[in-house]
Symmetry: C2
Subunit: 463 residues, 2 copies
């Protein structure tokens, strides 16, 4: 019987390297490097060491898969767990607009861990990532805005995206993909409630999505069966977790539209819902020559989801929570001209000028912005100056969006900054990882990336 899940599964089973357009392959390499930078930057950031310790306590002391932040070898389950948590803490990992899914932080940890254990090639890793992105984005779009209002889509849908990526590495056929979606979908979880308290759940969600998806795929390979219509069945995900699901998204232009290349790189080190307003404020201040002191009030005119996610955060008490504070982000932009890792680390919580600016920022629902969302994330700010002027600025493509993407040079610079921020990789190692990523399609075998004895192998291809 044909139904949307089966159509999606058939597409995933048929996907192979020669069918991918060059620009999709190239973008996969870029997203892989960008993800790797976020994972390295998580080293030492609370709560990442807790995940490392859990992996040490519960997992094996050796293995073929690599936990990047502590450079330990372990089983794929725990490498996926730790690397996903690590890559979702500094808020620099990629985001797909219309699905509001962070695909990289769930797809790459699971796929890399499995690829290392399975000895997959770079091309197989690329195809796995593409499968994970294409499925995850469509399922996120399918579940719609009502889902995202309560659920952290990267936790819920991320489980399915990770499962699909690993399933591709395990060579699944159409039936297996249907089963793995069933077993991943029935594990899908992640609620936004933690935001109110600045709790650690965002990293837990990414970690669990990657590990649970991997678990679903490995069990499916051994014969575990799953619901045939977990997405649109009567007691499936849409029934339980959405009020506005639309099954047409599940099969939207499969093989023609590549969701992976619609994915945005993050420029600012904050929640993506703050980026459009940050870019608009920066542009406004530059074009009018304003300093933060000139500004009496900023109204960020936003879509409803920004209010849902950022609204609970009024006075941030941790650096991570500050990344969900519109006032803090705009304060950093206004005072320092950027809201990068270093600005957050040094100035987000204690700098009086930033705190003062934060209190002069409010959010307001803008019907036009809301209507364009989630396809477009429009930046609209209205500023009242101390000398009585009212100024407005509009930005339609925030920095990092497909229409305003980062170049490979900018991605390299971002990667080096992320690696240096945590010290998880030396400048020489960072360069090797950049070279590795730009040659991903030529790698004969995905080995651990930061083990001394492995460096020879990894650099061999372009030596």
């Amino acid at each position: 019987m044909s139904h949307p899940t089966r159509t999606l599964a058939a597409f995933l089973a048929a996907l192979d390297y020669p069918t991918l357009p060059e620009r999709v392959v190239s973008r996969s390499e870029e997203l892989c490097l960008d993800w790797l930078g976020s994972a390295l930057a998580g080293k030492g950031q609370p709560p990442i060491p807790l995940f490392e310790r859990y992996a040490q306590r519960m997992g094996p002391a050796s293995g073929a898969s690599e936990s990047l932040t502590d450079r330990r070898l372990t089983s794929p389950h725990f490498a996926a767990l730790v690397n996903a948590a690590a890559s979702h803490i500094v808020e620099q990992d990629d985001l797909h607009n219309s699905s509001v899914l962070h695909p990289g932080t769930v797809v790459f940890p699971a796929a890399l861990a499995a690829a290392q254990e399975l000895g997959a090639s770079g091309r197989e890793l690329i195809v796995a990532a593409v499968a994970g992105y294409e499925a995850g984005v469509r399922i996120g779009e399918f579940l719609g805005r009502s889902h995202y209002a309560i659920f952290h889509t990267t936790g819920t849908v991320g489980t399915l995206a990770a499962a699909v990526a690993v399933g591709k590495l395990l060579g699944f056929d159409e039936d297996r993909f249907v089963h793995v979606l069933g077993s991943a979908g029935t594990q899908a979880a992640g609620l936004w409630e933690f935001l109110r308290d600045g709790a650690h759940s965002k990293q837990l969600h990414a970690a669990k999505a990657a590990a649970d998806g991997l678990l679903a795929a490995y069990l499916t390979a051994e014969g575990l069966t799953g619901a045939q219509r977990i997405l649109d069945g009567k007691q499936g995900m849409a029934a339980g977790l959405s009020q506005d699901a639309d099954a047409r998204y599940l099969t939207d232009r499969l093989g023609e539209r590549w969701a992976l290349e619609e994915t945005s790189f993050k420029f600012h080190a904050s929640c993506r819902h703050t980026h459009p307003a940050a870019d608009a404020l920066l542009a406004l201040m530059q074009s009018h020559g304003l300093s933060h002191d000139d500004i009496a009030h900023v109204t960020a005119r936003v879509h409803q989801a920004a209010i849902d996610v950022l609204g609970p955060v009024t006075r941030p008490t941790s650096i991570h929570q500050a990344k969900f504070s519109m006032g803090t982000v705009l304060g950093l932009i206004a005072v320092y001209g950027r809201a990068g890792l270093e600005e957050f680390q040094r100035h987000a919580l204690a700098e009086p000028q930033v705190i003062a600016f934060r209190e002069r920022v409010s959010m307001q629902l803008d019907p036009q912005v809301d209507a364009a969302y989630p396809k477009k994330w429009l930046g609209r700010v209205t500023v009242t100056t101390r000398d009585g002027r009212t100024l407005s600025q509009a930005i339609d493509d925030p920095k990092g969006d497909p229409g305003n993407t980062l170049s490979r040079d900018e991605l390299e610079e971002k990667f080096r900054r992320l690696a240096a921020f945590s010290g998880a990789a030396s400048p020489a190692e960072a360069q090797r990882l950049i070279d590795w990523a730009w040659q991903l399609r030529e790698q004969p075998r995905i080995a651990p990336l930061l083990q001394p004895q492995m460096r020879e192998n990894n650099s061999g291809v372009h030596a």
Copy 2:
């Protein structure tokens, strides 16, 4: 700030052995043995070996915690995963009526695995189990019938129940219990959609609930923070997963009402929603001296949840799925006078008389039964005989319910039958485990139960 989650957390933190009534301690020992029997009976049943293999592939090759079906030592994470899956496959594990939660299959695997690693005493294990049952049942009641209509409560709420039990073993205070509920609640998952296909998700749900709850507790012990109001917050479990949540249940008579002793033992080896009708049919056939051949049609008059869960199963294709087929269960009762493990294994799928009887059974919503549910699970059947009579039977306390419970002799007999069914323990081992359970409160230290070198220790207390 006081709120229901904090009140519940304070109760859990304060719970200790001397505060437990004797009958609660005694019932804990019975539930522990009953759970152990279900876990052993799962050996070799699909899909349990898949979980064993995953644990071997992803976990360590040694440890202090025991995977019961393959007798391997591993870390608590994987012992909890395998034992929970195993104890939820033969449909003999306990059930709490008004929460529609199977507490044993999630609480005991997590608590036993942690107790073995931590070297906890029997009394500490008992207190942990009580904490898990008391919290789990109240959270299940809180989420209500709308939750259970879509979600497998044992998967969702089971994650919190398991987390609480392990948190108790880890010595959590009130704050830690609030955090662990947050981190467990945000992982809560499990959809009924798999029932339609007879897929393996029911075991996956139990396995994941136990392991995820344990993960939440171990991470919380190290400092992971969670949402403060995951249950009733604006973007918490009730908001996302229920339409009829009632926060009063969360703190219902804490310390006075003991939910653990309201838990039912399962007599028939099938979904609990079939039990009231099975008992009613058996009583009717006995009182009227009917054989299965005398019966033209049975109408099981049931509550709505029975239709939600059993309705999708029309023609079962696996033994496990047959346990969710009202027709098959009543067919086994009618033909063999019982619906135990052996009857399912031998006759549920292929015996023509059972299949023929199955086709003569229908379910009908009964407003009186539905109004009493979930507090009471009433059994009502109407039978039309081939000679034209219409007969009815009512049962108010199905066999195994608190009002019609199993004696220790009956529990021992059930346990021996479960162990013998799979061959997971020899008769001598089964006797040792019975002795161990009846002395649980005197065990100085919970060691692995089936390791050759451990038998001395475990039997030492009553030698």
